[in-house]
C-alpha cells in the first residue's frame, strides 16, 4: 500500500516535471501533428531507399526545413544576447544573388570549382553583412531590432542590384547538389543544417562561449564589468547569424537553380524567430536552447507539410501558423500558466499541492 502511494507520488512529480519542461508542449504539438499526418496518410512514416537515396515524407520534412533550421540556429544565439536579427531574409537573398550571378558570369559555369568559388564569395559577403549589423549594434549601440531593420529594408534592393532585377538561372550541378544532392543516402541540405546544429551545440556547450553569450544577454553591463568582452561576443553572433542565413539562402537558390531577389527567403526571419520562440528561448535574452530551436524548426516544417497532406489548401498554412504561435506562447507565458494552475488548484483539493512544490524545486 505505501509502495503504491510512493510510486504514485513519484509518477506525479515526474509528470509535473515533464509538463514544466520547456520542450514539453512543443514536443506534444510535434507528436500530435505527426499523428494527424499518420491518420490522414497511413504510409506517412514509410521511408524507402531508392537509387541509394533515402526517400519519404519524414526525410522531406527535414530537407525542406533545413533553411529555416539554419537561420534559426543563428537567430537563437543572437536572441540569447538580447538581440534580434531581422535582416536574415535579405542576407539570404544577397547570398543567393551573389553566388548565382558569379556562376552565370564565369566562363566555366558548370564546373564544380566555379560553384565552390561562388559559395565562398557569397559566404564572404555574408560575413561582411554580419559585421555591419554587429557594428551597428555593438559599437554604435543601436537597438538590434532597428539596426537590422536597416539591412532588412535595403537588403533586397542590394540583392536586386546584384542580379540587375532579373531572375537569374544557373546550370551548375555541383551548386544544385546543395539542395537536391545526397550523401551517405541522406539529403545534403539536411546534413548541412544538422551538421551546423551539432557543431554549434558542441562549441556553445563544451566551451565557455555559451555561458558568455548568456551572461551578455542577461546583463551586458555587468558582463562587461566582469571582464566579458561583450562587444566581441555580440559582433560574433551577428556574423554567425549572417553566415547561417547565407547558407540557407544558397540552399534555397540551389533548390530552384535560380535566384529571385524579391522572393528568396521572404519572411524566413519570421519563421526562424518563431522556431526560436517555440523552442522556449525568451526574446528577452539570456538562457537559450538550441535543442528547442531544432524542435521548433521541425514543428514549423511539419506543419507546412501537414496542411496540404490533410487536404487543406496550402495557403491556409498562415492561419495554422498563427494558431500555433498563439497557443505555444500562451502555454509558455508565466501569466497564462498561473491562470491555468489556479484553475487546476480549485478542482482537486489538497494532494496536488506537494507535487507542485517539488516541480518548482
Amino acid at each position: 500500500m505505501p509502495e503504491t502511494v510512493r510510486t504514485g507520488r513519484v509518477g506525479r512529480a515526474l509528470r509535473a516535471r515533464a509538463i514544466a519542461h520547456h520542450l514539453f508542449w512543443p514536443l506534444v504539438a510535434l507528436g500530435a501533428l505527426l499523428v494527424v499526418n499518420l491518420i490522414a496518410t497511413p504510409t506517412f512514416f514509410n521511408v524507402r531507399i531508392q537509387d541509394g537515396h533515402l526517400f519519404g515524407s519524414l526525410v522531406d520534412i527535414v530537407r525542406n526545413g533545413a533553411p529555416v533550421l539554419l537561420v534559426a540556429i543563428g537567430m537563437t544565439l543572437v536572441i540569447a544576447t538580447r538581440g534580434i536579427d531581422l535582416s536574415v531574409g535579405a542576407v539570404a537573398a544577397i547570398a543567393g544573388a551573389v553566388a548565382c550571378v558569379y556562376i552565370v558570369k564565369s566562363p566555366a559555369d558548370g564546373a564544380a570549382g566555379t560553384a565552390a568559388v561562388a559559395i565562398t564569395m557569397a559566404l564572404a559577403v555574408c560575413v561582411a553583412l554580419g559585421r555591419w549589423n554587429g557594428f551597428l549594434v555593438s559599437v554604435l549601440g543601436i537597438q538590434p531590432i532597428i539596426a537590422t531593420l536597416v539591412l532588412m529594408v535595403a537588403g533586397r534592393g542590394i540583392a536586386m542590384l546584384v542580379t540587375g532585377g532579373q531572375i537569374t538561372t544557373v546550370n551548375n550541378d555541383s551548386f544544385g547538389a546543395l539542395a537536391s544532392g545526397h550523401l551517405l543516402t541522406l539529403p545534403v541540405a539536411a546534413l548541412i543544417a544538422l551538421g551546423v546544429f551539432a557543431a554549434t551545440q558542441i562549441v556553445v556547450r563544451r566551451t565557455a562561449l555559451g555561458l558568455l553569450i548568456e551572461s551578455v544577454g542577461i546583463n551586458p553591463e555587468a558582463s562587461r564589468l566582469a571582464g566579458v568582452r561583450s562587444r566581441t561576443i555580440i559582433w560574433t553572433v551577428y556574423v554567425f547569424a549572417a553566415l547561417c542565413a547565407g547558407t540557407a539562402g544558397l540552399i534555397i537558390a540551389a533548390n530552384t537553380h535560380s535566384v529571385n531577389a524579391n522572393s528568396l527567403g521572404l519572411w524566413i526571419e519570421l519563421d526562424a524567430i518563431l522556431a526560436v520562440v517555440i523552442g522556449g528561448t525568451s526574446l528577452a535574452g539570456g538562457r537559450f536552447s538550441l535543442t528547442g530551436t531544432l524542435v521548433g524548426a521541425l514543428l514549423i516544417a511539419t506543419l507546412t507539410r501537414t496542411i496540404p497532406n490533410i487536404g487543406i489548401p496550402a495557403e491556409a498554412n498562415y492561419l495554422f501558423k498563427a494558431l500555433v504561435v498563439v497557443i505555444v506562447c500562451l502555454l509558455q507565458s508565466p501569466k497564462a500558466r498561473a491562470v491555468l494552475q489556479r484553475r487546476g488548484d480549485r478542482t482537486p483539493p489538497s494532494p496536488s499541492a506537494p507535487s507542485r512544490e517539488e516541480a518548482v524545486a
Partner: protein, 332 residues
C-alpha cells in the same frame, strides 16, 4: 528710434532662437523633405509643381493612415507587424461584402470592426499574457494573411459606384490644382491623431507608457486600457488604410500590401519617433511618409534609376535617422 530697437530685439531673438530639443528630429525630417523637393525641382522639369506634392499625398494616403496607427504603438515602445496583412484583409472583406451586395455603410463598418477586433485581440495578448508585441503581432500578421486566403485566393475587383465615386472624387483648390478625397481624409486622420496625442488624457498616458511602464503604473494611469487601446487604434488605422487602399486599387487581393508594415515602420522612424517609445509626433510620421513618397517620385521622374534604389535609399535614410537619434539621445 523705438522702431529700430524693436527690430533689433526681434532680430537678436530670432538669431538666438533654437527650437526645443524634442522638435529637432521632426524639423530634421521637414528640412530633408523640403531639400529633396528643392533638389527635385532643380533637376527635373515639373517636379516643383504643387500638383506633384498633392499627388504625393493621394498616392500615399493609405500609408499615412497606417503610419499614424503605428506611431501610437511605437510611442508606447511596442511594434505592430500585422498592419500590412490587416490592410490586405480589409481590402478583401470590402471587396467580398460589396460583391455580396451589402450597402457601402455596412461594408465600411464591417471592415473597421474586423480591423479593430484584430488589433484589440493582439493588445489583450500583449498586455494580459505578457507576450512580446513582436510575437503577438507576428501571429496577427499570419492570422490576417491566412484569413485573406480563406476569403479568396484570387483578386476580387470592386465595381461599386459609390466606391469609384469616392476613389476618383477630388476637391479643386485655387489655381486649378486638385486634391483627392482620400488624401483629405488621411490628413483629417493625422489632425485627429495629433489632437488625441497632444491634448487628451489618453495621449498623455501613451507617452507616459513609452517613457516607463512601471512608473506609469505607479502613477495610477490606466496602463491596461491604454496598452490595449493603442493596438486597437493601430488595427483601426490599418482597416482605414485598407479601405483607402481598396479605393486606390479598386480591388481586394490577398497579396496586397506585402511588406507594407516595413514602410510604415520606416516612415515612423524617419519621422523622428524613437523606437524605444516615449518620444515622437504624428506630424513626423506624416513627413516620413512624404519623404518615402518623394523618393519614389524622384525615381519615376528620373527614369534611368531602377526601382530597387527606392529600397536602398529608404534603408540608408532609416540608418541616418537612427544614428542621428542615437547621437542626440546619448548627448542628452
Amino acid at each position: 528710434m523705438s522702431v529700430t530697437m524693436v527690430e533689433e530685439g526681434l532680430l537678436a531673438r530670432a538669431a538666438r532662437f533654437s527650437p526645443p530639443r524634442r522638435y529637432l528630429p521632426v524639423l530634421g525630417t521637414f528640412a530633408l523633405f523640403i531639400g529633396m523637393f528643392g533638389v527635385g525641382g532643380l533637376r527635373y522639369e515639373g517636379f516643383a509643381d504643387p500638383q506633384v506634392f498633392l499627388t504625393l499625398l493621394l498616392d500615399n494616403a493609405f500609408l499615412i493612415v497606417l503610419a499614424v496607427g503605428m506611431t501610437f504603438v511605437i510611442l508606447t515602445g511596442g511594434i505592430d507587424l500585422s498592419v500590412g496583412s490587416n490592410v490586405a484583409l480589409s481590402t478583401l472583406i470590402a471587396a467580398r461584402t460589396l460583391e455580396l451586395g451589402l450597402p457601402v455603410v455596412a461594408v465600411v463598418l464591417v471592415v473597421l470592426l474586423a480591423g479593430t477586433l484584430l488589433g484589440t485581440a493582439m493588445g489583450l495578448l500583449i498586455h494580459y499574457f505578457d507576450i512580446q508585441p513582436f510575437i503577438a503581432t507576428l501571429a496577427g500578421m499570419f492570422l490576417a494573411r491566412g484569413l485573406c486566403y480563406l476569403i479568396s485566393v484570387d483578386s476580387i475587383p470592386i465595381k461599386d459606384e459609390t466606391f469609384s465615386a469616392i476613389a476618383f472624387g477630388s476637391i479643386t483648390l485655387p489655381g486649378g490644382y486638385y486634391l483627392g478625397w482620400t488624401a483629405v481624409f488621411a490628413l483629417v486622420i493625422v489632425a485627429v491623431a495629433a489632437y488625441v496625442l497632444s491634448s487628451t488624457r489618453f495621449g498623455r498616458t501613451v507617452y507616459a507608457l513609452g517613457g516607463s511602464e512601471p512608473s506609469a503604473l505607479l502613477m495610477g494611469l490606466p496602463v491596461a486600457a491604454t496598452k490595449v487601446g493603442v493596438y486597437a487604434i493601430s488595427g483601426l488605422c490599418a482597416a482605414l488604410g485598407g479601405l483607402l487602399f481598396a479605393l486606390y486599387t479598386l480591388s481586394g487581393y490577398s497579396l496586397h500590401a506585402v511588406g507594407m508594415e516595413l514602410d510604415a515602420i520606416a516612415a515612423v522612424v524617419i519621422g523622428g519617433t524613437l523606437l524605444t517609445g516615449g518620444r515622437g509626433f504624428v506630424i513626423g510620421s506624416l513627413l516620413g511618409v512624404l519623404v518615402l513618397g518623394t523618393i519614389q517620385t524622384f525615381i519615376s521622374f528620373d527614369g534611368t534609376l531602377s526601382s530597387w534604389w527606392t529600397r536602398i535609399s529608404i534603408g540608408v535614410l532609416v540608418l541616418v535617422f537612427v544614428v542621428a537619434q542615437r547621437v542626440l539621445t546619448r548627448r542628452s
